[in-house]
C-alpha cells in the first residue's frame, strides 16, 4: 500500500488487507539493504490472522523514496511519522530484523506509550560491522553484497535445500542487494555500527536468534538480554542470520506465540 511521509513516497505491505481500527497492529522493519519482502511468509500470516500488518520499506529501500535515513534514531522517528499518517489507534507491536531490530528497540525506547511488544530477530548489541565489510560497502564494491549474502546465512545454506521450493537463497539475497541505489548499504551498515541505545525499554521483548548466525551470533545479544529484564529468547538451531528465510516456520512459530 502506498503512503506519503514528509511528502515522499512510502510503502508498506499490508498482506492485501485494509487497515481496520479494531485490530491490533504489527509493524515489520527490515534489515540493512533489504525491504519488506524479507518478512514475506511471516507478515502474510499475521495479515490473514486478524492483525493489521505494516511491513515497511524504510526510505531508500524497496518502494519507498530515498534518500536513506542516516541513523537508527531517524529511522525510529520515521516509523512513528508513518504511523501518524495512517492513524493506527492504540499501541503497536514491532518486529525487526537485524538493523530493523535496532529500529524496533529504539522505537520502544523513544515512545514507550505507543509500543506494546517488540520482537528482535537476528540482533546483536552493539551491532559492530567489520571494517572490511564497511569499507567495501563505502566503495559500493560488489564484494559487500557477497559479504552480506555469505555471512548473512548459515554456512550450510548453499549446500542444502531452501524451505521455499525451487528458490535459491543466495541468489535471492544478491538480487535484492543489486537493486539498491549506491550508498544505501553503506548507510545502513554505518547506522548499525555506531548505534547506542540511550533510553530504557520497558515493554516485553522477544529475541529470535539463529544458532549458526555468524553476523550477529547469539552471544552478541547477551548484553542486551541482560539489560532488558522483561525478555525471552528463542534460539533456532539450524538457522543463520536470515532467520525468516532459513527457518520460516520456526521463526513464525516464535512470533505467533509471542504476539498471541
Amino acid at each position: 500500500m502506498n503512503f506519503k511521509v514528509d511528502g515522499k513516497a512510502a510503502f508498506a505491505y499490508t498482506a492485501a488487507h485494509e487497515l481496520v481500527a479494531d485490530k491490533r497492529t504489527l509493524v515489520f522493519v527490515h534489515g540493512a539493504g533489504l525491504d519488506h519482502s524479507s518478512f514475506g511468509l511471516q507478515s502474510r500470516y499475521f495479515g490473514y490472522h486478524g492483525w493489521n500488518v505494516l511491513a515497511l520499506d524504510l526510505p531508500g529501500h524497496g518502494r519507498s523514496a530515498g534518500p536513506p535515513l542516516p541513523d537508527i534514531g531517524s529511522m525510529a522517528d520515521w516509523v512513528f511519522k508513518f504511523l501518524d499518517q495512517i492513524s493506527v489507534p492504540g499501541k503497536v507491536n514491532l518486529t525487526g530484523h537485524s538493523m530493523g531490530a535496532l529500529v524496533a528497540l529504539e522505537c520502544a525506547a523513544r515512545q514507550p506509550a505507543r509500543v506494546e511488544r517488540i520482537a528482535l530477530i537476528g540482533v546483536a548489541y552493539p551491532m559492530k560491522v567489520s571494517d572490511a565489510f564497511l569499507d567495501a560497502a563505502r566503495r559500493n564494491d560488489p564484494a559487500a553484497f557477497d559479504m552480506e549474502t555469505i555471512w548473512g546465512h548459515a554456512a550450510q545454506v548453499p549446500l542444502r535445500g531452501d524451505p521455499n521450493p525451487g528458490m535459491w537463497m543466495y541468489g535471492d539475497t544478491l538480487a535484492r542487494l543489486r537493486r539498491l541505489a549506491p550508498g544505501v548499504l553503506y548507510n545502513d551498515l554505518k547506522a548499525c555500527n555506531v548505534y547506542q541505545l540511550a533510553g530504557s525499554v520497558q515493554c516485553p521483548v522477544l529475541f529470535v536468534l539463529g544458532k549458526r548466525d555468524v553476523m550477529t551470533p547469539p552471544r552478541g545479544a547477551a548484553a542486551l538480554q541482560e539489560r532488558l529484564k522483561d525478555s525471552k529468547t528463542v534460539v533456532i538451531e539450524l538457522s543463520g542470520h536470515s532467520l525468516m528465510a532459513e527457518a520460516p516456520d520456526a521463526t513464525l512459530d516464535a512470533l505467533a506465540a509471542f504476539f498471541r
Binding site: G62, G161, W168, Y170
Partner: protein
C-alpha cells in the same frame, strides 16, 4: 582480509538444493514419488495454501525431489530460483504465459529450434500473441522490431542450427531500454559454458533433456529467473504488478520484487497448465547435473577434434562452428564462450540431399535421431526433420540448406568418431 567465498561450480553441481534426507539420512536425492503431503492440522493446511508457510501441498505445484533440481539449476545459473517443467517447450510456454496474454508481442530470433518456432509462429498466434522474427546476428534488429505491445525479447544463446552467438549484453540492453526482459534458451551452452544472467539476460530456460541430463532417458525443462528485472518500474506487466483474483488478489511484485515472476509462474502456470516435472524425471536429470562439469569439457574437447577433421575434409563444403575463424561470430564467441562453443554444430556436405542421405545412413557410431546433448554422438538432417515445417525463406534465414547435417558430439573416443565420419563421407562421395 580475504572476503568470503562462494562454493565452486563443481561443488554446487553435486550439493546445491539438497540436505541429506531428514527422515532416513539418505545421501542420494530421494525420489519422493508422492502426489500429495499430509497436513499437520487444518491450520497448517490453510497456511500452506495461502503461502504463509513454506512446504509442499501437491506435486503439480511442487515436489521435494523436483525442488532439488530447481534449486540446483538456480544455483548454477546464479538465479533467484527455478521451476522444472515437463519439457523445454513447457518451460518456454510457461515463461510466455506468465508475462502476457492475448495482445502481447514477442521479438524473437529467427534462428530457433523448430519446436520453439512452431510455438511462436503458429500456436501462440492462435491465442493472440504475435511474434516478429529477426536475424539475431545484428542486435539492432531486435530494437527495430520492438512495438508498444512488446513484452519479451527471446533468442537462443547459440542459434539453431547456424550457431549464431547471441550478443547477450547488447540485446539485453535493448530489451531493458524497451522495459521488457530478455529470455534466452541456454540449452546448448549449459551453465558450465555460459552464465547468461551475468551477461544481462533476465530469464532463461533449458531443455534439461539435453546436456543437463546427458543420458537421453528423460524429457524435462527448467525455467530460471535472475530476479533482477524490475517489473514494477517497467509498468508493462499487469500479471505481476496488479492484484490477481485467481490467487487471493495477490500482487506478486508486492509480495516480492525478486520472486514475483516465479511466484506467478508456479501459483498460476503450474497450477492451471499443469506441465510439471515428475519426481523420477527430476532424479534422472539430477544424475546428469552432478557430472555436468566433467562432461562438458569432454564434449567440447571431442567437438574440437571432429570440427578440425571435417574442416579440412574435401567432401565438406563448410563447417559451421563459432570457434572457427570462418564463422561470422568468431570474435563474439571468444568473448562470451571462452570455455567452448558447445558440442552441437552443423556442416554442409558436398553433393546436397543425396550425399547427405548416404552419409547419414553409412554412420555406425553416430545415431540418427531427433535429439542433441546426449552422451552418445548423434546426427540429424534438419531440413527433413527438426525444421521441416519451416518455409524455404525461414530455412534460409535460419542458415539451413538441403545439405546441412547437424552433429551432436558425445563422449566416445574422438578417434572412433572421426573414423566413423571419414568412412561415411567416403561412402557419400561414391
Amino acid at each position: 582480509m580475504a572476503g568470503p567465498k562462494y562454493p565452486g561450480f563443481d561443488t554446487l553441481a553435486l550439493h546445491a538444493g539438497q540436505s541429506p534426507d531428514a527422515a532416513t539420512g539418505a545421501r542420494a536425492v530421494p525420489i519422493y514419488q508422492s502426489t500429495s503431503y499430509v497436513f499437520r492440522d487444518t491450520e497448517h493446511a490453510a497456511s500452506l495454501f495461502n503461502m504463509e508457510r513454506a512446504g509442499h501441498v501437491y506435486s503439480r505445484i511442487s515436489n521435494p525431489t523436483v525442488a532439488v533440481l530447481e534449486e540446483r539449476i538456480a544455483a548454477l545459473e546464479g538465479g533467484v530460483g527455478a521451476i522444472a517443467t515437463a519439457s523445454g517447450q513447457a518451460a518456454l510456454h510457461l515463461a510466455v504465459a506468465t508475462l502476457m496474454g492475448a495482445g502481447g508481442h514477442i521479438v524473437a530470433s529467427g534462428s530457433l529450434y523448430g519446436g520453439s518456432h512452431n510455438l511462436l509462429a503458429y500456436t501462440l498466434k492462435r491465442f493472440g500473441i504475435d511474434t516478429t522474427f529477426v536475424s539475431p546476428r545484428d542486435p539492432e534488429n531486435f530494437r527495430k522490431a520492438v512495438r508498444e505491445n512488446t513484452r519479451l525479447l527471446f533468442a537462443e544463446t547459440l542459434g539453431n542450427p547456424g550457431l549464431d552467438v547471441l550478443d547477450i549484453p547488447s540485446v539485453a540492453a535493448i530489451a531493458h531500454q524497451a522495459k521488457v526482459p530478455l529470455l534466452v534458451d541456454a540449452t546448448f551452452t549449459t551453465p558450465y559454458l555460459m552464465q547468461p544472467f551475468e551477461l544481462g539476460a533476465d530469464l532463461l530456460y533449458h531443455s534439461a533433456t539435453k546436456f543437463l541430463g546427458g543420458h537421453g532417458v528423460a524429457i524435462g525443462g527448467v525455467l530460471a529467473d535472475s530476479g533482477r528485472f524490475d517489473w514494477e518500474a517497467s509498468g508493462k506487466f499487469d500479471t505481476l504488478t496488479a492484484p490477481y483474483a485467481g490467487f487471493h488478489n495477490m500482487d506478486f511484485e508486492e509480495e516480492s520484487g525478486t520472486r514475483a515472476f516465479l511466484l506467478r509462474a508456479r501459483r498460476e502456470g503450474l497450477r492451471d497448465f499443469g506441465a510439471c516435472m515428475a519426481p523420477m524425471t527430476a532424479f534422472q536429470i539430477l544424475q546428469g547435473v552432478e557430472t555436468l562439469h566433467l562432461r562438458m569439457p569432454r564434449h567440447v574437447e571431442n567437438t574440437r577434434k571432429v570440427v578440425a577433421f571435417l574442416d579440412q575434409h574435401p567432401a565438406v563444403e563448410e563447417v559451421i562452428y563459432p570457434e572457427l575463424a570462418s564463422h561470422p561470430d568468431h570474435e563474439l564467441c571468444r568473448k562470451l564462450l571462452p570455455k567452448g562453443a558447445g558440442a552441437v554444430f552443423s556442416f554442409e556436405i558436398k553433393g546436397g540431399r543425396p550425399a547427405g542421405r548416404k552419409f547419414i545412413e553409412s554412420l555406425r557410431v553416430f545415431s540418427h535421431l531427433a535429439n542433441v546433448g546426449d552422451a552418445k554422438s548423434l546426427v540429424i538432417h534438419p531440413a527433413t526433420t527438426t525444421h521441416y515445417r519451416m518455409s524455404d525463406e525461414d530455412l534460409k534465414r535460419a542458415g539451413i540448406t538441403a545439405g546441412t547435417v547437424r552433429l551432436s558430439i558425445g563422449l566416445e573416443d574422438a578417434q572412433d568418431l572421426i573414423d566413423d565420419l571419414e568412412r561415411s563421407l567416403k561412402a557419400a562421395m561414391k
